[in-house]
Protein backbone atom coordinates (compact mmCIF):
# COMPACT_ATOMS: atom_id res chain seq x y z
CA UNK A 1 0.00 0.00 0.00
CA UNK A 2 1.30 3.40 -0.91
CA UNK A 3 1.08 6.06 1.76
CA UNK A 4 -0.27 9.60 1.54
CA UNK A 5 1.68 12.43 3.08
CA UNK A 6 1.64 16.23 3.14
CA UNK A 7 4.98 17.22 1.64
CA UNK A 8 6.81 20.04 -0.06
CA UNK A 9 8.08 19.24 -3.56
CA UNK A 10 11.60 19.17 -2.11
CA UNK A 11 10.54 16.56 0.44
CA UNK A 12 8.58 14.64 -2.19
CA UNK A 13 11.64 14.56 -4.46
CA UNK A 14 13.75 13.42 -1.50
CA UNK A 15 11.36 10.50 -1.01
CA UNK A 16 11.77 9.72 -4.70
CA UNK A 17 15.55 9.66 -4.27
CA UNK A 18 15.30 7.50 -1.13
CA UNK A 19 13.12 4.97 -2.94
CA UNK A 20 15.73 4.71 -5.72
CA UNK A 21 18.27 3.45 -3.17
CA UNK A 22 21.17 5.73 -4.16
CA UNK A 23 24.71 4.67 -3.23
CA UNK A 24 26.10 8.20 -3.02
CA UNK A 25 24.61 11.65 -2.44
CA UNK A 26 27.07 14.51 -2.87
CA UNK A 27 25.95 17.98 -1.85
CA UNK A 28 27.18 21.37 -0.82
CA UNK A 29 24.87 22.30 2.06
CA UNK A 30 25.12 26.11 2.00
CA UNK A 31 22.91 28.67 0.16
CA UNK A 32 21.64 28.33 -2.53
CA UNK A 33 21.13 24.67 -1.59
CA UNK A 34 17.60 23.46 -0.92
CA UNK A 35 15.84 21.54 1.83
CA UNK A 36 15.90 18.48 -0.42
CA UNK A 37 19.38 17.44 0.68
CA UNK A 38 18.48 18.21 4.31
CA UNK A 39 15.64 15.72 4.04
CA UNK A 40 18.04 13.15 2.58
CA UNK A 41 20.34 13.74 5.54
CA UNK A 42 17.35 13.08 7.84
CA UNK A 43 16.60 9.81 6.07
CA UNK A 44 20.19 8.73 6.52
CA UNK A 45 20.30 9.78 10.18
CA UNK A 46 16.99 8.01 10.90
CA UNK A 47 18.13 4.81 9.22
CA UNK A 48 15.49 5.10 6.50
CA UNK A 49 18.13 5.14 3.77
CA UNK A 50 21.63 3.82 3.42
CA UNK A 51 24.03 5.76 1.22
CA UNK A 52 27.33 7.55 1.45
CA UNK A 53 26.64 11.25 2.09
CA UNK A 54 29.48 13.37 0.80
CA UNK A 55 29.45 16.91 2.18
CA UNK A 56 31.71 18.85 -0.14
CA UNK A 57 33.00 22.40 -0.23
CA UNK A 58 31.21 23.74 -3.30
CA UNK A 59 28.68 22.89 -5.99
CA UNK A 60 31.54 22.37 -8.43
CA UNK A 61 32.94 19.77 -6.04
CA UNK A 62 29.49 18.25 -5.54
CA UNK A 63 29.23 17.50 -9.23
CA UNK A 64 32.86 16.37 -9.36
CA UNK A 65 32.16 13.97 -6.48
CA UNK A 66 29.02 12.76 -8.24
CA UNK A 67 31.12 12.10 -11.33
CA UNK A 68 33.72 10.16 -9.36
CA UNK A 69 31.07 8.08 -7.60
CA UNK A 70 29.27 7.36 -10.83
CA UNK A 71 32.60 6.34 -12.42
CA UNK A 72 32.74 3.60 -9.78
CA UNK A 73 29.30 2.38 -10.82
CA UNK A 74 27.44 4.01 -7.93
CA UNK A 75 23.89 5.31 -8.28
CA UNK A 76 24.46 8.96 -7.49
CA UNK A 77 22.38 12.01 -6.66
CA UNK A 78 22.96 15.70 -6.12
CA UNK A 79 20.88 18.86 -6.02
CA UNK A 80 21.45 22.54 -6.45
CA UNK A 81 19.90 25.80 -7.51
CA UNK A 82 20.56 29.15 -9.11
CA UNK A 83 24.21 30.30 -8.72
CA UNK A 84 25.05 26.85 -7.40
CA UNK A 85 24.01 25.30 -10.69
CA UNK A 86 26.03 27.90 -12.59
CA UNK A 87 29.03 26.97 -10.48
CA UNK A 88 28.45 23.31 -11.36
CA UNK A 89 28.43 24.18 -15.04
CA UNK A 90 31.95 23.03 -15.85
CA UNK A 91 31.38 19.60 -14.31
CA UNK A 92 27.98 19.06 -15.94
CA UNK A 93 29.54 18.39 -19.32
CA UNK A 94 32.17 16.07 -17.81
CA UNK A 95 29.37 13.91 -16.45
CA UNK A 96 27.26 13.94 -19.60
CA UNK A 97 30.12 13.52 -22.08
CA UNK A 98 31.50 10.55 -20.15
CA UNK A 99 27.96 9.13 -20.11
CA UNK A 100 27.49 8.79 -16.37
CA UNK A 101 23.80 8.59 -15.40
CA UNK A 102 23.81 10.96 -12.43
CA UNK A 103 20.40 12.36 -11.48
CA UNK A 104 20.08 15.82 -9.97
CA UNK A 105 17.26 18.12 -8.94
CA UNK A 106 17.51 21.81 -9.70
CA UNK A 107 15.26 24.13 -7.72
CA UNK A 108 14.75 26.70 -10.47
CA UNK A 109 15.68 30.07 -9.07
CA UNK A 110 16.76 33.42 -10.44
CA UNK A 111 20.40 34.10 -11.20
CA UNK A 112 22.27 37.14 -9.87
CA UNK A 113 22.45 40.08 -10.05
CA UNK A 114 20.43 41.48 -8.44
CA UNK A 115 20.69 38.59 -5.99
CA UNK A 116 17.28 37.07 -5.63
CA UNK A 117 16.55 33.65 -4.23
CA UNK A 118 13.09 33.35 -5.74
CA UNK A 119 11.74 31.20 -8.53
CA UNK A 120 12.47 31.58 -12.22
CA UNK A 121 14.06 29.38 -14.85
CA UNK A 122 17.08 31.33 -15.99
CA UNK A 123 19.42 28.97 -14.13
CA UNK A 124 18.49 25.80 -16.02
CA UNK A 125 18.20 27.42 -19.42
CA UNK A 126 21.73 28.79 -19.02
CA UNK A 127 22.76 25.09 -18.91
CA UNK A 128 20.93 24.25 -22.13
CA UNK A 129 23.84 22.66 -23.97
CA UNK A 130 25.36 20.82 -21.02
CA UNK A 131 24.35 17.47 -22.49
CA UNK A 132 21.89 16.71 -19.68
CA UNK A 133 18.34 15.53 -20.15
CA UNK A 134 16.14 18.27 -18.66
CA UNK A 135 12.67 17.51 -17.32
CA UNK A 136 10.16 19.83 -15.60
CA UNK A 137 7.65 18.75 -12.93
CA UNK A 138 4.36 20.52 -12.27
CA UNK A 139 3.80 19.57 -8.63
CA UNK A 140 5.22 17.63 -5.69
CA UNK A 141 3.72 14.33 -6.76
CA UNK A 142 5.26 14.61 -10.19
CA UNK A 143 8.58 15.62 -8.59
CA UNK A 144 8.65 12.32 -6.69
CA UNK A 145 7.52 10.27 -9.67
CA UNK A 146 9.86 12.07 -12.06
CA UNK A 147 12.97 11.39 -9.94
CA UNK A 148 12.21 7.66 -10.02
CA UNK A 149 11.62 7.71 -13.78
CA UNK A 150 14.74 9.84 -14.22
CA UNK A 151 16.97 7.06 -12.86
CA UNK A 152 15.29 4.50 -15.09
CA UNK A 153 15.84 6.76 -18.09
CA UNK A 154 19.38 7.86 -17.23
CA UNK A 155 20.58 4.30 -16.61
CA UNK A 156 18.93 2.80 -19.67
CA UNK A 157 21.84 1.24 -21.63
CA UNK A 158 20.68 3.00 -24.78
CA UNK A 159 20.50 6.36 -23.03
CA UNK A 160 23.26 6.49 -20.36
CA UNK A 161 22.84 10.22 -19.96
CA UNK A 162 22.46 12.29 -16.78
CA UNK A 163 19.05 13.78 -15.98
CA UNK A 164 18.19 17.08 -14.33
CA UNK A 165 14.72 17.21 -12.77
CA UNK A 166 13.55 20.83 -12.52
CA UNK A 167 11.23 22.14 -9.80
CA UNK A 168 10.11 25.76 -9.71
CA UNK A 169 11.84 27.37 -6.75
CA UNK A 170 9.53 28.08 -3.79
CA UNK A 171 6.36 27.79 -5.91
CA UNK A 172 6.97 24.04 -5.83
CA UNK A 173 9.97 23.44 -3.61
CA UNK A 174 8.45 25.13 -0.54
CA UNK A 175 4.78 24.43 -1.21
CA UNK A 176 3.17 21.54 0.68
CA UNK A 177 0.70 19.32 -1.03
CA UNK A 178 -0.87 15.88 -0.74
CA UNK A 179 1.60 13.35 -2.17
CA UNK A 180 1.34 9.60 -2.53
CA UNK A 181 4.55 7.77 -1.65
CA UNK A 182 4.95 4.45 -3.45
CA UNK A 183 6.04 1.31 -1.66
CA UNK A 184 9.72 0.35 -1.82
CA UNK A 185 8.79 -2.97 -3.46
CA UNK A 186 6.96 -1.15 -6.26
CA UNK A 187 9.95 1.06 -7.00
CA UNK A 188 12.33 -1.90 -6.76
CA UNK A 189 10.26 -3.70 -9.38
CA UNK A 190 10.34 -0.66 -11.66
CA UNK A 191 13.97 0.29 -11.12
CA UNK A 192 16.48 -2.56 -10.91
CA UNK A 193 19.90 -2.02 -9.29
CA UNK A 194 22.29 0.05 -11.43
CA UNK A 195 24.68 -2.09 -13.44
CA UNK A 196 27.13 -0.72 -15.96
CA UNK A 197 30.34 -1.65 -17.70
CA UNK A 198 31.16 2.06 -18.00
CA UNK A 199 33.02 2.11 -14.68
CA UNK A 200 36.41 1.72 -13.07
CA UNK A 201 36.98 -1.76 -11.75
CA UNK A 202 40.12 -3.18 -10.10
CA UNK A 203 39.23 -6.64 -11.45
CA UNK A 204 38.92 -5.29 -14.97
CA UNK A 205 41.29 -2.32 -15.29
CA UNK A 206 40.64 0.07 -18.16
CA UNK A 207 40.63 3.73 -19.07
CA UNK A 208 37.32 5.55 -19.52
CA UNK A 209 38.75 7.61 -22.39
CA UNK A 210 38.01 11.02 -20.92
CA UNK A 211 40.55 12.63 -23.22
CA UNK A 212 39.96 12.16 -26.92
CA UNK A 213 41.56 13.87 -29.91
CA UNK A 214 39.97 15.08 -33.13
CA UNK A 215 40.07 11.54 -34.49
CA UNK A 216 37.27 10.31 -32.20
CA UNK A 217 35.70 13.39 -30.55
CA UNK A 218 32.94 13.94 -33.10
CA UNK A 219 31.78 10.34 -32.90
CA UNK A 220 31.27 10.75 -29.16
CA UNK A 221 29.05 13.76 -29.77
CA UNK A 222 27.12 11.90 -32.46
CA UNK A 223 26.48 9.08 -30.01
CA UNK A 224 25.23 11.58 -27.42
CA UNK A 225 22.78 12.96 -29.95
CA UNK A 226 21.65 9.40 -30.72
CA UNK A 227 21.11 8.79 -27.00
CA UNK A 228 18.85 11.85 -26.76
CA UNK A 229 16.88 10.62 -29.75
CA UNK A 230 16.44 7.25 -28.00
CA UNK A 231 15.43 9.07 -24.81
CA UNK A 232 12.48 10.64 -26.63
CA UNK A 233 10.62 7.36 -26.92
CA UNK A 234 11.82 6.07 -23.55
CA UNK A 235 10.43 9.07 -21.64
CA UNK A 236 6.94 8.20 -22.85
CA UNK A 237 7.48 4.43 -22.48
CA UNK A 238 8.70 4.66 -18.88
CA UNK A 239 5.92 7.10 -18.03
CA UNK A 240 3.41 4.52 -19.29
CA UNK A 241 5.10 1.68 -17.42
CA UNK A 242 5.17 3.74 -14.22
CA UNK A 243 1.53 4.66 -14.80
CA UNK A 244 0.50 1.01 -15.02
CA UNK A 245 2.17 0.42 -11.68
CA UNK A 246 1.02 3.50 -9.75
CA UNK A 247 -1.99 4.78 -11.68
CA UNK A 248 -0.14 8.05 -12.34
CA UNK A 249 0.89 8.79 -15.91
CA UNK A 250 1.86 12.22 -17.18
CA UNK A 251 2.12 11.85 -20.95
CA UNK A 252 5.74 11.72 -22.05
CA UNK A 253 7.64 14.74 -23.37
CA UNK A 254 4.52 16.89 -23.54
CA UNK A 255 1.07 16.84 -22.04
CA UNK A 256 -1.95 18.34 -23.80
CA UNK A 257 -4.76 19.76 -21.67
CA UNK A 258 -8.15 20.28 -23.33
CA UNK A 259 -6.54 20.75 -26.73
CA UNK A 260 -8.87 18.46 -28.74
CA UNK A 261 -10.86 21.20 -30.46
CA UNK A 262 -8.84 24.13 -29.13
CA UNK A 263 -8.04 27.18 -31.22
CA UNK A 264 -6.00 29.15 -28.68
CA UNK A 265 -3.29 27.45 -26.65
CA UNK A 266 -0.63 28.42 -24.16
CA UNK A 267 2.64 26.48 -23.97
CA UNK A 268 3.88 26.09 -20.39
CA UNK A 269 6.48 24.42 -18.17
CA UNK A 270 6.37 23.59 -14.48
CA UNK A 271 4.06 25.01 -11.83
CA UNK A 272 2.33 27.68 -13.93
CA UNK A 273 0.72 24.78 -15.80
CA UNK A 274 -1.45 23.99 -12.79
CA UNK A 275 -2.70 27.55 -12.53
CA UNK A 276 -3.28 27.61 -16.29
CA UNK A 277 -5.52 24.51 -16.04
CA UNK A 278 -7.91 26.48 -13.80
CA UNK A 279 -8.04 29.37 -16.28
CA UNK A 280 -8.62 26.95 -19.18
CA UNK A 281 -11.52 25.33 -17.28
CA UNK A 282 -13.09 28.75 -16.56
CA UNK A 283 -12.79 29.93 -20.15
CA UNK A 284 -14.12 26.60 -21.46
CA UNK A 285 -17.23 27.17 -19.35
CA UNK A 286 -17.67 30.43 -21.22
CA UNK A 287 -17.45 28.49 -24.49
CA UNK A 288 -13.95 29.64 -25.43
CA UNK A 289 -11.89 27.05 -27.29
CA UNK A 290 -8.73 27.19 -25.25
CA UNK A 291 -6.15 24.62 -24.24
CA UNK A 292 -2.67 24.15 -22.83
CA UNK A 293 0.44 22.30 -23.94
CA UNK A 294 2.81 21.51 -21.09
CA UNK A 295 6.42 20.82 -21.99
CA UNK A 296 7.76 18.11 -19.61
CA UNK A 297 10.99 17.49 -21.46
CA UNK A 298 13.07 20.43 -22.64
CA UNK A 299 16.04 18.23 -23.63
CA UNK A 300 15.37 16.17 -25.59
CA UNK A 301 13.01 18.74 -27.10
CA UNK A 302 9.64 17.50 -28.43
CA UNK A 303 10.60 18.62 -31.93
CA UNK A 304 8.45 16.14 -33.82
CA UNK A 305 5.40 16.98 -31.73
CA UNK A 306 5.60 20.73 -32.40
CA UNK A 307 6.34 20.01 -36.03
CA UNK A 308 3.10 18.02 -36.19
CA UNK A 309 0.89 20.82 -34.80
CA UNK A 310 2.08 23.65 -37.08
CA UNK A 311 -1.38 24.31 -38.48
CA UNK A 312 -3.54 22.90 -35.72
CA UNK A 313 -4.20 26.05 -33.65
CA UNK A 314 -5.14 29.60 -34.64
CA UNK A 315 -2.87 31.29 -32.09
CA UNK A 316 -0.27 30.06 -29.62
CA UNK A 317 1.41 31.84 -26.73
CA UNK A 318 4.54 30.59 -25.02
CA UNK A 319 4.96 31.37 -21.31
CA UNK A 320 8.60 31.91 -20.40
CA UNK A 321 10.03 32.37 -16.91
CA UNK A 322 13.38 33.17 -18.48
CA UNK A 323 14.74 35.07 -21.43
CA UNK A 324 17.80 35.28 -23.61
CA UNK A 325 18.73 38.96 -23.58
CA UNK A 326 18.74 40.46 -27.03
CA UNK A 327 16.40 37.83 -28.41
CA UNK A 328 13.27 36.54 -26.62
CA UNK A 329 12.07 33.93 -24.13
CA UNK A 330 14.19 30.79 -24.17
CA UNK A 331 11.39 28.29 -24.64
CA UNK A 332 9.66 30.53 -27.17
CA UNK A 333 12.68 30.52 -29.52
CA UNK A 334 12.60 26.76 -29.73
CA UNK A 335 8.84 26.36 -30.06
CA UNK A 336 8.81 29.06 -32.74
CA UNK A 337 11.61 27.35 -34.66
CA UNK A 338 9.66 24.09 -34.79
CA UNK A 339 6.47 25.86 -35.85
CA UNK A 340 8.26 27.66 -38.68
CA UNK A 341 6.17 27.74 -41.83
CA UNK A 342 2.94 26.94 -39.97
CA UNK A 343 -0.22 29.04 -39.84
CA UNK A 344 -0.50 29.63 -36.08
CA UNK A 345 0.03 33.20 -34.90
CA UNK A 346 2.68 33.28 -32.20
CA UNK A 347 3.38 35.40 -29.15
CA UNK A 348 5.79 35.17 -26.23
CA UNK A 349 4.78 36.09 -22.67
CA UNK A 350 7.65 36.72 -20.27
CA UNK A 351 6.36 36.49 -16.71
CA UNK A 352 7.27 35.39 -13.22
CA UNK A 353 10.92 36.43 -13.23
CA UNK A 354 12.62 36.56 -9.83
CA UNK A 355 9.62 35.05 -8.08
CA UNK A 356 6.95 37.44 -9.38
CA UNK A 357 3.58 35.73 -8.96
CA UNK A 358 1.68 34.59 -12.06
CA UNK A 359 -1.95 35.09 -11.04
CA UNK A 360 -4.95 33.63 -12.85
CA UNK A 361 -6.11 36.98 -14.23
CA UNK A 362 -2.73 37.42 -15.92
CA UNK A 363 -3.11 34.04 -17.63
CA UNK A 364 -6.67 34.96 -18.64
CA UNK A 365 -5.21 38.13 -20.17
CA UNK A 366 -2.87 35.97 -22.25
CA UNK A 367 -5.78 33.99 -23.69
CA UNK A 368 -7.51 37.29 -24.36
CA UNK A 369 -4.50 38.44 -26.37
CA UNK A 370 -4.52 35.17 -28.33
CA UNK A 371 -8.20 35.76 -29.04
CA UNK A 372 -7.41 39.21 -30.43
CA UNK A 373 -4.61 37.77 -32.56
CA UNK A 374 -7.01 35.21 -33.97
CA UNK A 375 -9.15 38.20 -35.05
CA UNK A 376 -6.12 39.64 -36.80
CA UNK A 377 -5.47 42.34 -34.24
CA UNK A 378 -1.80 43.20 -33.82
CA UNK A 379 0.09 42.10 -30.70
CA UNK A 380 3.75 42.67 -29.97
CA UNK A 381 5.64 39.42 -30.41
CA UNK A 382 7.52 39.52 -27.11
CA UNK A 383 5.67 40.89 -24.10
CA UNK A 384 6.65 41.31 -20.44
CA UNK A 385 3.43 40.92 -18.45
CA UNK A 386 2.64 41.67 -14.81
CA UNK A 387 5.07 44.58 -14.64
CA UNK A 388 4.97 47.46 -12.14
CA UNK A 389 4.38 49.82 -15.05
Amino acid sequence: MSKKAFLSANEAAAHGVRLCRPDVVAAYPITPQTTLVEKLADFLADGEADFRYMMVESEHSAMAAALGASMMGARTFTASSSQGLLYMCEMLSYVSGARHPVVMVDANRATATPWNIYGDQRDVFAMRDSGWIMLFAENGQEALDMVIQAYKLAEDPEVMTPVMVNLDGFTLTHTYDLVEIPEQEEVDAFLPPFKTSNKLDLEDPKTLCQTVGPDFHMEGRYLQQQAFEKAKEKIAAYDREYGEMTGRSYGGMIEEYRCEDAELVLVTTGSVSGTTRIVVDCLREEGKKVGMIRVRSYRPFPKEYFDSIKDRFAAMGVIDRSLSFGLEGTLYSEVKAELYGGSAKLVNFIVGLGGRDIPKDLIAMMYDKLDRMQKNEAEEEVQFLGMRW
Binding site: F170, Y176, D177, L178, S271, V272, I278
Partner: protein, 188 residues
Protein backbone atom coordinates in the same frame (compact mmCIF):
# COMPACT_ATOMS: atom_id res chain seq x y z
CA UNK B 1 -12.02 26.06 -2.24
CA UNK B 2 -11.27 27.63 1.12
CA UNK B 3 -8.34 30.04 1.29
CA UNK B 4 -6.73 30.90 4.61
CA UNK B 5 -4.03 33.47 5.39
CA UNK B 6 -1.88 33.42 8.50
CA UNK B 7 -0.21 36.52 9.93
CA UNK B 8 2.67 35.90 12.27
CA UNK B 9 6.20 36.91 13.08
CA UNK B 10 9.27 34.94 12.06
CA UNK B 11 9.78 32.09 14.54
CA UNK B 12 6.28 32.07 16.07
CA UNK B 13 5.09 28.99 14.20
CA UNK B 14 2.58 30.60 11.84
CA UNK B 15 3.73 28.45 8.94
CA UNK B 16 3.77 25.33 11.12
CA UNK B 17 0.11 26.02 11.83
CA UNK B 18 -0.58 26.58 8.11
CA UNK B 19 1.00 23.17 7.42
CA UNK B 20 -0.86 21.46 10.29
CA UNK B 21 -4.12 22.69 8.81
CA UNK B 22 -3.27 21.44 5.31
CA UNK B 23 -2.18 18.10 6.75
CA UNK B 24 -5.34 17.77 8.86
CA UNK B 25 -7.59 18.59 5.91
CA UNK B 26 -5.84 16.31 3.42
CA UNK B 27 -4.21 13.26 4.99
CA UNK B 28 -6.69 13.08 7.89
CA UNK B 29 -9.71 14.88 6.44
CA UNK B 30 -9.99 13.17 3.08
CA UNK B 31 -9.86 16.47 1.21
CA UNK B 32 -7.03 18.19 -0.64
CA UNK B 33 -4.74 20.69 1.04
CA UNK B 34 -1.96 23.04 0.10
CA UNK B 35 0.25 25.18 2.34
CA UNK B 36 2.99 27.65 1.54
CA UNK B 37 4.86 30.38 3.37
CA UNK B 38 5.52 33.91 2.24
CA UNK B 39 8.50 32.89 0.15
CA UNK B 40 11.95 34.08 0.98
CA UNK B 41 14.37 34.45 3.86
CA UNK B 42 12.78 34.47 7.31
CA UNK B 43 14.02 36.76 10.04
CA UNK B 44 12.98 36.15 13.61
CA UNK B 45 10.37 38.68 14.65
CA UNK B 46 9.72 40.09 11.18
CA UNK B 47 6.15 39.95 9.84
CA UNK B 48 5.57 36.75 7.88
CA UNK B 49 2.62 35.21 6.11
CA UNK B 50 1.50 31.64 5.74
CA UNK B 51 -1.22 30.33 3.45
CA UNK B 52 -3.44 27.25 3.35
CA UNK B 53 -5.86 26.08 0.67
CA UNK B 54 -8.46 23.39 1.36
CA UNK B 55 -10.63 21.87 -1.35
CA UNK B 56 -12.76 18.84 -2.17
CA UNK B 57 -10.96 18.67 -5.51
CA UNK B 58 -7.29 18.44 -6.48
CA UNK B 59 -5.58 21.80 -5.98
CA UNK B 60 -3.55 22.78 -9.04
CA UNK B 61 -3.43 26.52 -8.34
CA UNK B 62 0.16 27.68 -7.86
CA UNK B 63 -0.55 31.38 -7.73
CA UNK B 64 -0.62 33.37 -4.51
CA UNK B 65 -3.73 33.73 -2.36
CA UNK B 66 -5.39 37.13 -2.82
CA UNK B 67 -8.82 36.54 -1.25
CA UNK B 68 -9.49 34.81 2.03
CA UNK B 69 -12.28 32.88 3.72
CA UNK B 70 -10.35 33.08 6.96
CA UNK B 71 -7.50 35.23 8.24
CA UNK B 72 -5.68 34.25 11.41
CA UNK B 73 -3.56 36.83 13.25
CA UNK B 74 -1.14 35.43 15.84
CA UNK B 75 0.03 38.80 17.14
CA UNK B 76 -2.21 41.88 17.20
CA UNK B 77 0.75 44.27 16.89
CA UNK B 78 0.80 43.18 13.23
CA UNK B 79 -2.35 45.28 12.76
CA UNK B 80 -0.11 48.34 13.04
CA UNK B 81 2.01 47.39 10.05
CA UNK B 82 -0.31 45.46 7.76
CA UNK B 83 -3.94 45.39 6.65
CA UNK B 84 -5.08 42.14 8.19
CA UNK B 85 -8.49 42.42 6.50
CA UNK B 86 -6.98 42.67 2.99
CA UNK B 87 -8.78 40.42 0.54
CA UNK B 88 -11.36 39.22 3.07
CA UNK B 89 -14.28 37.58 1.28
CA UNK B 90 -17.85 38.50 2.21
CA UNK B 91 -18.79 36.38 5.20
CA UNK B 92 -15.14 35.64 5.91
CA UNK B 93 -13.75 35.25 9.41
CA UNK B 94 -10.89 37.07 11.12
CA UNK B 95 -9.51 35.24 14.14
CA UNK B 96 -7.12 37.34 16.17
CA UNK B 97 -5.04 36.87 19.31
CA UNK B 98 -5.79 40.05 21.22
CA UNK B 99 -7.10 41.61 24.41
CA UNK B 100 -8.50 44.55 22.47
CA UNK B 101 -12.22 45.11 22.02
CA UNK B 102 -14.18 43.87 19.02
CA UNK B 103 -14.95 47.50 18.12
CA UNK B 104 -11.28 48.33 18.01
CA UNK B 105 -10.50 45.40 15.70
CA UNK B 106 -13.55 46.02 13.51
CA UNK B 107 -12.47 49.66 13.07
CA UNK B 108 -9.57 48.32 10.99
CA UNK B 109 -12.02 46.93 8.44
CA UNK B 110 -12.91 49.30 5.63
CA UNK B 111 -15.03 47.02 3.45
CA UNK B 112 -18.81 46.96 3.21
CA UNK B 113 -19.37 43.20 3.30
CA UNK B 114 -20.33 41.47 6.52
CA UNK B 115 -17.34 39.73 8.11
CA UNK B 116 -16.96 37.75 11.29
CA UNK B 117 -14.46 38.73 13.93
CA UNK B 118 -13.37 36.23 16.58
CA UNK B 119 -11.26 37.52 19.47
CA UNK B 120 -9.18 35.29 21.68
CA UNK B 121 -6.60 35.99 24.35
CA UNK B 122 -4.50 33.11 23.06
CA UNK B 123 -1.35 34.30 24.82
CA UNK B 124 -2.95 33.73 28.23
CA UNK B 125 -4.05 30.24 27.22
CA UNK B 126 -0.55 29.53 25.90
CA UNK B 127 1.09 30.65 29.14
CA UNK B 128 -1.24 28.39 31.09
CA UNK B 129 -1.15 25.33 28.88
CA UNK B 130 2.28 25.50 27.26
CA UNK B 131 4.15 27.70 29.76
CA UNK B 132 5.34 29.75 26.80
CA UNK B 133 3.72 32.49 24.68
CA UNK B 134 3.47 30.29 21.57
CA UNK B 135 -0.03 30.54 20.17
CA UNK B 136 0.08 28.83 16.78
CA UNK B 137 -1.80 25.63 17.66
CA UNK B 138 -4.21 27.57 19.90
CA UNK B 139 -5.08 29.94 17.05
CA UNK B 140 -5.43 26.94 14.74
CA UNK B 141 -7.94 25.42 17.16
CA UNK B 142 -9.81 28.72 17.53
CA UNK B 143 -10.03 29.31 13.78
CA UNK B 144 -11.28 25.80 13.11
CA UNK B 145 -13.73 26.01 15.99
CA UNK B 146 -15.09 29.16 14.38
CA UNK B 147 -15.20 27.94 10.78
CA UNK B 148 -15.32 24.13 11.12
CA UNK B 149 -13.29 23.72 7.93
CA UNK B 150 -11.74 20.65 9.59
CA UNK B 151 -12.70 18.65 12.64
CA UNK B 152 -10.95 18.76 15.99
CA UNK B 153 -9.97 15.08 15.79
CA UNK B 154 -8.30 15.71 12.42
CA UNK B 155 -6.25 18.52 13.97
CA UNK B 156 -5.25 16.19 16.80
CA UNK B 157 -4.10 13.59 14.29
CA UNK B 158 -2.11 16.25 12.43
CA UNK B 159 -0.39 17.38 15.64
CA UNK B 160 0.45 13.74 16.49
CA UNK B 161 1.84 13.23 13.01
CA UNK B 162 3.89 16.41 12.63
CA UNK B 163 5.01 17.71 15.99
CA UNK B 164 7.82 16.37 18.19
CA UNK B 165 6.58 13.79 20.76
CA UNK B 166 7.26 16.07 23.74
CA UNK B 167 5.03 18.79 22.27
CA UNK B 168 2.07 16.70 21.19
CA UNK B 169 -0.12 16.25 24.26
CA UNK B 170 0.08 19.82 25.54
CA UNK B 171 -0.48 21.29 22.09
CA UNK B 172 -3.48 19.03 21.48
CA UNK B 173 -4.92 20.11 24.83
CA UNK B 174 -4.34 23.81 24.15
CA UNK B 175 -5.71 23.50 20.61
CA UNK B 176 -8.81 21.65 21.81
CA UNK B 177 -9.44 24.19 24.55
CA UNK B 178 -9.46 27.02 21.99
CA UNK B 179 -11.54 24.98 19.54
CA UNK B 180 -14.23 24.26 22.12
CA UNK B 181 -14.16 27.79 23.53
CA UNK B 182 -14.81 29.37 20.14
CA UNK B 183 -17.20 26.70 18.88
CA UNK B 184 -19.33 27.25 21.94
CA UNK B 185 -19.70 30.86 20.90
CA UNK B 186 -17.79 32.21 23.89
CA UNK B 187 -14.73 34.36 23.38
CA UNK B 188 -11.74 34.17 25.63
Amino acid sequence: MKEIRWHGRGGDGAFTAAKLLGLAASVFGGKYGQAFPSFGPERRGAPVLGFTRISDEVITDHSQIYTCDCVIVLDDTLCDVTDVFAGMKAGGTLVINTTKSEEEIRSLYHGNDPVNVVLLDATSIALEELKAPIVNTIMLGAAMGATEMVQKTQLEEAIDSMMAPALREKNKKAMARAYDLVKGGAQG
